[in-house]
Subunit: 275 residues, 3 copies
Amino acid sequence: MHAAAISMNYDHPACRAVLRQVRQQAPFVYGLTNYVAAALSANVLLAAGAAPAIGAAPGWPAGFGGQAGAIWVNAAGLINCTAQDMLDAVRAANAAGVPWVLDPVAMGAGIGEYDAIIRDLARQGPAVIRGNASEVMALAGGAATARGVETTASIAQAVPMGQDLARNKQVIVAISGPEDHILGPDGRHLVVPGGHRLLTVVTGAGCALGGLVAAALAVTPEEPDRLVAVAAIHALYARAAEIAARSAGGPASFATGFVDVLAHLQDTDSSDGIR
Amino acid sequence: MHAAAISMNYDHPACRAVLRQVRQQAPFVYGLTNYVAAALSANVLLAAGAAPAIGAAPGWPAGFGGQAGAIWVNAAGLINCTAQDMLDAVRAANAAGVPWVLDPVAMGAGIGEYDAIIRDLARQGPAVIRGNASEVMALAGGAATARGVETTASIAQAVPMGQDLARNKQVIVAISGPEDHILGPDGRHLVVPGGHRLLTVVTGAGCALGGLVAAALAVTPEEPDRLVAVAAIHALYARAAEIAARSAGGPASFATGFVDVLAHLQDTDSSDGIR
Amino acid sequence: MHAAAISMNYDHPACRAVLRQVRQQAPFVYGLTNYVAAALSANVLLAAGAAPAIGAAPGWPAGFGGQAGAIWVNAAGLINCTAQDMLDAVRAANAAGVPWVLDPVAMGAGIGEYDAIIRDLARQGPAVIRGNASEVMALAGGAATARGVETTASIAQAVPMGQDLARNKQVIVAISGPEDHILGPDGRHLVVPGGHRLLTVVTGAGCALGGLVAAALAVTPEEPDRLVAVAAIHALYARAAEIAARSAGGPASFATGFVDVLAHLQDTDSSDGIR
């Protein structure tokens, strides 16, 4: 762990507070994401109590971008919508004061044309950038270290660059890995330990986390509270993974159990909500 | 329940008759639907014994639209195909006498450009329009009450407008909700009680129902029988949900169990087919 | 079984060898496939230890096509990318010496425009063509016998035409059916018995097999070894299906169990790796 970092897990009261707000407010969360991860992302959001809609039907990006409580833009969504759709959505969000998450999937895999689109999106003012080590490093201006959608870089390498990115772009940067690091534009640094290796063999698990982070933004209007809210979502994700792994027979039953657990995590007490 | 409405559940012999026909004939059912719901929709159709194909590859809409036993057009499919693809499919269907289902997903969410496409599709002569309360009300000319893909209107508000829509467009209108209402162009009104709340937290469950309604149309050539066949599919869906909910640990295991149960529902006796 | 055919199942040491190589090398496997099958395909590849990426984001086909260890092109991917994307990917693959799999989904269903694209792809030099009986027969120049994405032809009809195809195009042809036939350009003929009927009621199960075959190519550099490697993947798939079927309650729990089993199949001993 890094010197000034503060550790935070699901036992932190902020996790229950965020979950309670999501379940009470059922925020409309709009996503431009990829078809590989879309169904899991929607199911994760529904399990947490949010109301997701996904995709760039005619008029949706500009319309839902401004109507939603928050939006998330998953760069791999470019396999099924255009860069213009994404720009339309984030501009509508910005105009309406709707916070949004940018997930720079596969950034830094050596595809210049693709990376340039993400770099342009990152200039539009996301509230949160969420990715793995390679993606965050690439977006911070580092070398290309991704292999397809996977990282080959370590969290230790990514954190200092993520801190620069957070400060330079005045954005919360969340880096997923064996432990997750949530970095504030003001230098705050939260670390979320735990989670489970099985999350890395379920396609779209990271993408779905981006959607859930958007749900947290939707119920957290004050900017200073958002760093903790983003960390809370990561802690909730980690705990749900740990619980689901206990009874999983492999990655597919783990994914099923993970969504089931998310639906049962309690917002009112300190138990894990599993009977 | 409404005055002239007749209640119908899975114990009605029409449910077994429709299921038996689908399993015997294995109708080719072609769908233009969205990538969030596509896999579940295909799996639901396969579980019921139908032979689905999904999507607008070059030549498929005009080709499969006329070859299939029935087709379903899910408006949110506009996230991955064009309005022209949908028009090609329904015109080919019409030319070949193939019945089709229109599912006006997210109609009435305030996106004029999108709603206009659905209104145009509704003018092409669907056999069935299937949606939630907000969607049916919007298509009937009512106010916009949808929030993304979710309804904020009640069934009670939607039924009278659905009845007008059925009469004016000479179409069967099926409204999904805590109880489902199936409305005929001739004023017939069937109500399907039951189902389970968990269906609302599985993404694409409503969309998949649209595909299954198409399968019912494919095996029900006579128009007067179709109202009952559509209600039968809703009753089958409701019963499968009730059975699956008994052993579900949450929404994801519910979805798994739901498809398993659909595959086991018997067409030959009055048991629920579960050993 | 055919005269010169050699039977091969998961007990053959080649199966463990291929699985061990995939788990050790974790090859980057890039796919252009359809959104119905995409998530299952990615999960199957992850379960086997490979590193998949899917879809045609800007720059990906030409970039990932050359970077990957192998690629697979599923013709039904034309529902969400262009023929040009597919050509870009396979040309990049060819230029870099990356082997690729062509899966001619729905070939021979009577859609001339669509079939012509697949025929053009088949001329670009795939290492393997993998499909069902109708698809292989259509690609070999036979009559159209597919119904949507389903075959209506028998393996017995398809094998002689597949053998011609293998010889004429100097390609390995793998035909899936009640037993799978793997046909070499040199006349070798392997038969993989077993598997399970439930594989045919899980959408995308055949498509995912195409991705797994690509993973096998990625870890099998020598052409003469590839025929056995392709058969090994089919044998692994069949065994995983048989094991998963034992405890499945229907097609959805079967699909979950199938991916779980794939993740547990051992590469080091002759047991089936299930505790």
